[in-house]
C-alpha cells in the first residue's frame, strides 16, 4: 500500500513539476477571517483578474497562491461579506491575512460578482447552505434543524413524515457520512427521529456532497454531510439565548486570551418533562427529554500553528417510574446519545504547504434499563449496544502553483463495536446473565487528489483513494478512483462530469427503517462483504450575476452492490429473546443485494440579497434487487420518488421583518398493499397428499407485487415571520411560524379498517402533524 501511495505521489510531483520559466514567482499565503470575531472562513474566493488565476480558502481558512513577480490586484469575495480589492506589489513571498466584514443589508454591493461561482467550481453535486438561511427557514415546533433543511435540497429525500433521516440519490440513511469537525455522528436523531442533533447554533458551515466525491472523502456510499463548528469570537464576548415551545437554548462565545484564544459553548434542552412533572401522580412518573451541548476552544500559537479542540455531547432519555402501595416499584428507561471530540493542529510548512492533524473520538451508545423491586426481591435488566471510534487523520494541502492544488493524507480508525451487552441480575432466580459482545476492527484510507487547471477552460480533480478494512484477520483492500472535470463554455457557464467509486465497511441494521435508537452499527465480516458503489454524473452550471442566481442541472447514475437487506421476519433486537440458547447471528439475517438509482436534479439558488432561497426539482428512479427478498425479483425502493419539488424563500421585508416559507411536494412512497385474501395450502406429507385429508391452510393476503402501490403524494407549506428589534444591548427576535399551513393530511401509514357501519373494509390512513403553530423568542448580544 505504501508503494502504491509513493507511486501516486511521484506521479503528482511529475504532473506539477514547475516549468522552467525566466520570470521569478512568489507566493501570497495566509488566512481569511471574519473581521472582529476572527472566525476563519472556508471557501472564500481569492482571485487575480490579471492572470485569470484564483484559489479558495480551505476548510481552515488557509489559502496560498503563487504568481509571477508583478503588481497585482487581488479580489477577496465571499457570500454575505463585503468584497475586498487589494493592490499588492509581489516582489517577495508575502504572508497576508484577509479580514472581511459581514455584509449589512443597506450596503451597496460592489463587484460581488466574482464571489462563489458554481460554474467555476470543478466539484459538482455539492451544495452548501448558509447557516443564516437555516435559521430563517420555518421548522416543526419551531425547532431549527439542519438535517430537515438538507432534506429540502434536490437529490435528497426525507423518509416518513417528520423524520430527520435523509435519503440521498436513492441511498439509505445508513449510507450518509455525517461529520461534525471530522468526527462521525452515528445516530443523528433526537426524539425517535423527529428532530436531528443539529440546530445550527454552533455551526459555521454545512456542506452536502452527494456525488463526484473528492478522494479525501470515503467510507459511505451516498453522501457526505460535513459540518464545521464555529471557533468562537476572539475579540469580545457574544451570546444568544432562545426559548421555544419544546426547548430552550443558549450560545456563548468569546475570547480566552484576546486575539489569541477563544471558546464557544452552545447547549439546548427540552423541558416538557419538567413542565408535566407537577401534574403526574407520585405513583407513576414518566417523561422524556433530550439535550445536547457543543463546545469548542482554539488557540493561535503563531501564524504557523493553530490548535483546536471541539466536542459534542447529547443524550435522549425516555423513562417510566412507578411506585405502588404494596412496596412495589419499577423503573424503566431508554437512553441513547452521541459524544464526539476532536483535537486538531493546523500547521503551515512554508507558504505552500498546509497540514492538519486531527485526533478524533466518536461514541454512540443505546441502553435500555429495567428494574423491579418488591421488598427484598429485585430484578434488574440492562441491554445496551454501541460503537466507539478512535481516529488519527492527517491531511496536507499543497498549492505548488496556480495550476495545481494537491490534497493528500490518510485516516486511520479503530472501531470498537458492542453489538449487544446484556445483564440480568435477579433475586428470584440464580440464573444471572452477563453477556457482552465486542468486535474490534481497523479502517484505513489513504488518498491523493489534484485540482488541476489543465487549460484556461478545463479544470479537473483527479484523485485516488485506497481503503482498507480489517476484522478478525479478514482484510479488504479496495481502490477507489475519483475523477471530476469542468469545462467553461462561457465565463459564467460550464459543463461538468464526474465519476466516483465508494466502499462502505460499516452497516446499519435497522429493525424498522425509521431511524430508531435501537438501530445497530455492525462491521463488515468474512461473511458480509463491504457495500460498494460507483456513480457517474454530468451537468451544467451557470451563474447569473445580475440576478445573483446560481443554477445547476445534473443527471446521475449510481449502481450499488452488496448493500444489505433484511431477510423477511428478521429481527436484530437480541432483547426480543435473550434466553434463546440458539444465538442467531445478525449475519444470517441479512441478505446482500443491489440498487440502481438514476435521475436528474435541477437547482436554482440565491444566497444573498433581499430575497434568498432556492427552488429544487428532482426526477428519480430507485430500484433494488435481493436474492432472498421478493423471490429475487427487482422492485422499487420504498423511497423511490419520481418527482420531488422544494421551494424555499426568505424575504427581508424590512430591516426588522423577515418572512420565510417553504413548500414541498413528493411522489408518495412505494408500499406493498394487500388487495385480497385467500387460503394458501401447503404440501403436508403427514396428512397424506392422496386427497383423504385437506392439509391445514394458511390464511394469507395477496399483496400483488412488492412496493407496487403508491401512497398519496406528500405536500406541505410552512410559513414563518421573524420580528427583529435592536436595542443598545443586542437584538431580540420574536418568531412565529406555522407548520403545514393548509393542514394537509399527509399519510404516515395506511391500514385496512372498516367503514362507519363496519360492513365494508376501507383503506384508512394515519397522519401525524396537522397545522401546527409555534412561537419562539431569541436574544442575541
Amino acid at each position: 500500500m505504501r508503494s502504491l501511495f509513493s507511486i501516486c505521489f511521484a506521479g503528482i510531483l511529475l504532473l506539477t513539476a514547475l516549468p522552467a520559466t525566466a520570470q521569478q514567482k512568489y507566493t501570497i499565503s495566509g488566512y481569511v477571517q471574519e473581521k472582529g470575531s476572527q472566525e476563519t472562513l472556508p471557501g472564500v474566493v481569492i482571485y487575480v483578474p490579471k492572470y485569470k488565476a484564483g484559489t479558495s480558502s480551505n476548510s481552515y481558512g488557509f489559502y496560498s497562491i503563487t504568481l509571477p513577480a508583478d503588481t497585482i490586484e487581488v479580489m477577496v469575495n465571499y457570500v454575505g461579506y463585503v468584497p475586498q480589492k487589494h493592490r499588492i506589489v509581489l516582489d517577495k513571498n508575502i504572508s497576508l491575512n484577509f479580514e472581511i466584514s459581514v455584509l449589512v443589508m443597506k450596503e451597496v454591493v460592489i463587484e460581488a460578482d466574482k464571489s462563489e461561482k458554481i460554474s467555476d467550481d470543478v466539484q459538482m453535486s455539492t451544495i452548501s447552505v448558509p447557516i443564516e438561511q437555516i435559521k430563517d427557514i420555518p421548522a416543526l415546533m419551531g425547532e431549527k434543524d439542519v438535517l430537515k433543511v438538507i432534506q429540502l435540497l434536490p437529490g435528497v429525500q426525507k423518509g416518513s413524515e417528520g423524520s430527520s433521516g435523509i435519503y440521498v440519490r436513492g441511498g439509505g440513511p445508513d449510507q450518509n457520512l455525517i461529520l461534525l469537525d471530522d468526527a462521525t455522528v452515528y445516530n443523528a436523531s433526537h426524539l425517535f427521529g423527529f428532530f436531528s442533533l443539529f440546530n445550527g447554533d454552533a455551526l459555521k458551515s454545512v456542506e452536502l456532497v452527494k456525488g463526484g466525491f473528492p478522494a479525501r472523502y470515503g467510507g459511505r456510499l451516498s453522501s457526505v454531510l460535513e459540518m464545521r463548528m464555529k471557533e468562537g469570537s476572539k475579540d469580545s464576548l457574544h451570546g444568544e439565548a432562545g426559548i421555544g415551545l419544546i426547548s430552550s437554548r443558549f450560545v456563548l462565545e468569546g475570547p480566552i486570551i484576546k486575539n489569541k484564544a477563544s471558546f464557544l459553548v452552545s447547549a439546548r434542552r427540552t423541558y416538557i418533562d419538567l413542565l408535566i412533572k407537577p401534574f403526574l401522580k407520585e405513583e407513576n412518573k414518566f417523561g422524556y427529554y433530550f439535550y445536547d451541548m457543543n463546545a469548542k476552544a482554539n488557540y493561535v500559537l503563531n501564524d504557523k500553528n493553530k490548535f483546536y479542540i471541539s466536542g459534542y455531547f447529547g443524550n435522549d432519555k425516555a423513562y417510566n417510574e412507578a411506585k405502588e402501595a404494596n412496596d412495589y416499584t419499577f423503573n424503566a428507561s431508554l437512553r441513547w446519545g452521541n459524544a464526539t471530540a476532536t483535537a486538531r493542529w493546523n500547521h503551515q510548512w512554508g507558504n505552500k504547504l498546509f497540514s492538519n492533524t486531527s485526533f478524533i473520538f466518536a461514541n454512540y451508545t443505546m441502553a435500555i434499563d429495567y428494574k423491579e423491586k418488591q421488598g427484598t426481591d429485585e430484578f434488574k435488566l440492562h441491554y445496551g449496544s454501541g460503537i466507539r471510534d478512535f481516529s488519527l487523520k492527517q491531511d496536507f494541502d499543497w498549492a505548488p502553483n496556480t495550476d495545481h492544488y494537491v490534497r493528500m493524507g490518510f485516516l486511520s480508525t479503530y472501531h470498537y463495536f458492542t453489538p449487544s451487552a446484556f445483564v440480568i441480575s435477579s433475586s428470584y432466580t440464580p440464573d444471572n446473565i452477563n453477556q457482552e459482545q465486542h468486535i474490534e476492527t481497523i479502517e484505513n484510507g489513504v488518498y491523493i487528489e489534484d485540482e488541476w487547471k489543465m487549460t484556461d477552460r478545463l479544470k479537473s480533480n483527479i484523485g485516488f483513494r485506497l481503503s482498507h478494512f480489517s476484522n478478525r484477520g479478514k482484510n479488504y483492500v479496495k481502490p477507489e478512483p475519483r475523477v471530476a472535470l469542468r469545462y467553461m463554455l462561457k465565463e459564467d457557464l460550464s459543463v461538468k462530469g464526474s465519476f466516483a467509486m465508494m466502499n462502505q465497511y460499516l452497516h446499519l441494521l435497522s429493525s424498522t427503517g425509521v431511524g430508531l435508537p435501537t438501530d445497530l452499527w455492525v462491521p463488515t465480516t468474512n461473511k458480509v462483504a463491504p457495500q460498494q458503489s460507483w456513480q457517474a454524473a454530468a451537468g451544467v452550471a451557470k451563474d447569473w450575476y445580475e440576478k445573483k442566481l446560481m443554477i445547476s442541472v445534473e443527471g446521475y447514475y449510481k449502481h450499488s452492490t452488496s448493500i444489505l437487506g433484511y431477510k423477511e421476519g428478521a429481527s436484530f433486537l437480541v432483547i426480543d429473546d435473550p434466553n434463546d440458547n440458539e444465538q442467531v447471528s445478525w449475519e444470517d439475517n441479512v441478505t446482500p443485494g443491489q440498487a440502481w438509482s438514476y435521475g436528474g436534479e435541477f437547482l436554482i439558488q440565491r444566497k444573498f440579497g433581499k430575497l434568498t432561497g432556492w427552488v429544487g426539482y428532482t426526477l428519480s428512479w430507485t430500484q433494488m434487487q435481493f436474492d432472498s427478498l421478493n423471490f429475487g425479483e427487482k422492485f422499487y425502493a420504498r423511497y423511490d420518488r419520481r418527482h420531488d419539488i422544494s421551494v424555499v424563500a426568505i424575504y427581508k421585508l424590512k430591516e426588522n421583518i423577515t418572512l420565510s416559507g417553504t413548500w414541498v411536494y413528493g411522489t408518495g412512497n412505494a408500499i406493498t398493499l394487500p388487495t385480497g385474501e385467500y387460503e394458501a395450502t401447503p404440501h403436508d406429507p403427514g396428512s397424506g397428499n392422496t386427497g383423504q385429508f385437506q392439509p391445514y391452510p394458511y390464511y394469507v393476503q395477496d399483496y400483488g407485487k412488492k412496493n407496487d402501490f403508491r401512497m398519496a403524494p406528500y405536500h406541505r407549506l410552512d410559513f414563518g415571520v421573524q420580528f427583529h428589534h435592536k436595542t443598545k444591548w443586542g437584538e431580540r427576535t420574536f418568531e412565529a411560524s406555522v407548520y403545514n399551513v393548509y393542514n394537509r393530511k399527509n399519510p404516515f401509514y395506511y391500514y385496512v379498517g372498516y367503514n362507519s357501519s363496519g360492513t365494508e373494509r376501507k383503506l384508512k390512513q394515519v397522519s401525524l402533524f396537522p397545522v401546527l403553530p409555534s412561537v419562539s423568542w431569541t436574544f442575541k448580544f
Binding site: M141, G162, L191, F192, F194, I272, F286, G287, A318, L334, S511, T512, G513, V514, L516, T518, K567, E568, R638, T672, P674, T675, G676, E677, Y678, E679, A680, T681, P682, H683, P685, G686, S687, N689, T690, G691, Q692, Q694, Y698, Y699, V700, Q701, D702, Y703, R710, A712, K745, P747, F748, Y749, Y750, E760, K762, L763, K764, Q765, V766, S767, L768, P770
Partner: protein, 285 residues
Amino acid sequence: MKTIHNILLAAAAIFGLTSCESDATVDVPETKPKLVVSSFISPQDTQVVVRVKRSKPIFQSYNVNTSASVANASVSITNGSTTMQLNYNSTGEYYGVSATLFPITAGTTYTLTVTTPEGETATAKTTVPGVAPAAMNVSYTYVVEDSNSFFVSRHYTITINWNDFSGQSDLYRVVPVQLVKSVINPTDTFQLRAGEFLISDANNDGGTIQDKIDFYNHIAQGSDTIVGFDFYLMRSSPEYYLYHESLLNYNSGDPFSEPSLIYTNITGGLGVFGSYQQLKKRVFL
C-alpha cells in the same frame, strides 16, 4: 418490537403531536377474485391432486368463501405430449387423476391449466427434480426436563443428515411427523406434524446436509404417547421450495416493517404448482 412501537407512540403523545386517522385519499386498486390453485406433484404419489379455490378482494364486495373449493372448473395437465383431464372428487374436494393413468417422471416439465365457466384461466409449469437422496440418517436424544405425577416434559434433539447431489443447486424440505399412540384406542396410531425446515445446498454442494430439530413434548402422565417419527425428505422444485419458504416467513407487516409476500407461479391466479421427489423414513422411539 411492540415495546418500541409503544414507546414511539407514547413519545409522540407526550409531545402533543396529535395523530389523526381518516379515510385514505388514494384510490385502491380494482381487484377481482382470483383462482387459487395448489398442486404438488411427485413420482412417489399415487395420484395427481389439484385444489382450486378463490381469493376474496379486500376493498371490493364479492361474495366469496375462500375455504370453498371451486367445483365447476376444467383442470388439465400435460407433459408436452400427453394431456390428461382431471376429474373432480367432491368428497375430497380436489381434482385428481391416478398415477397409473398419468405417471409423473423425473426431469419432465408439466403444465397445469385451470379454466372456469366464468372465463378465468390459470396456468403454471413445474419441472420434476431428479431422484430423492437414497438414504437419510436420523439420530435422536431426549431428556426429561420436568416430570411430576401429572405431567412429563421431554426435549427431543433430532439430528438428520443426507448426502447432497453435486454439480447442481438442490433445495430440500424436511417434515417430521409424530406417530402418536392413543390412550383411548391403543391400536390406533395417529400422525401429528412436528414442524418443518427448508435447506439448500448453497455453500455445501455435494456435501453432507445436516440439520438439528429441537422438539418439546409436554403431556399429561398416562395420556397419548409418541411412539416414533416419520421423516419426509422432499427434494424440491424451486416453486415448491419458494412457496413453502414464503409461508414460513409470512408476516402481514405493520407500519414500521414490510409485509412479506407469498410466492406464486400461477399465471392468472394465485397459489403454486410445484414438484418434488420424496424419501420417507420411519423411526420408532
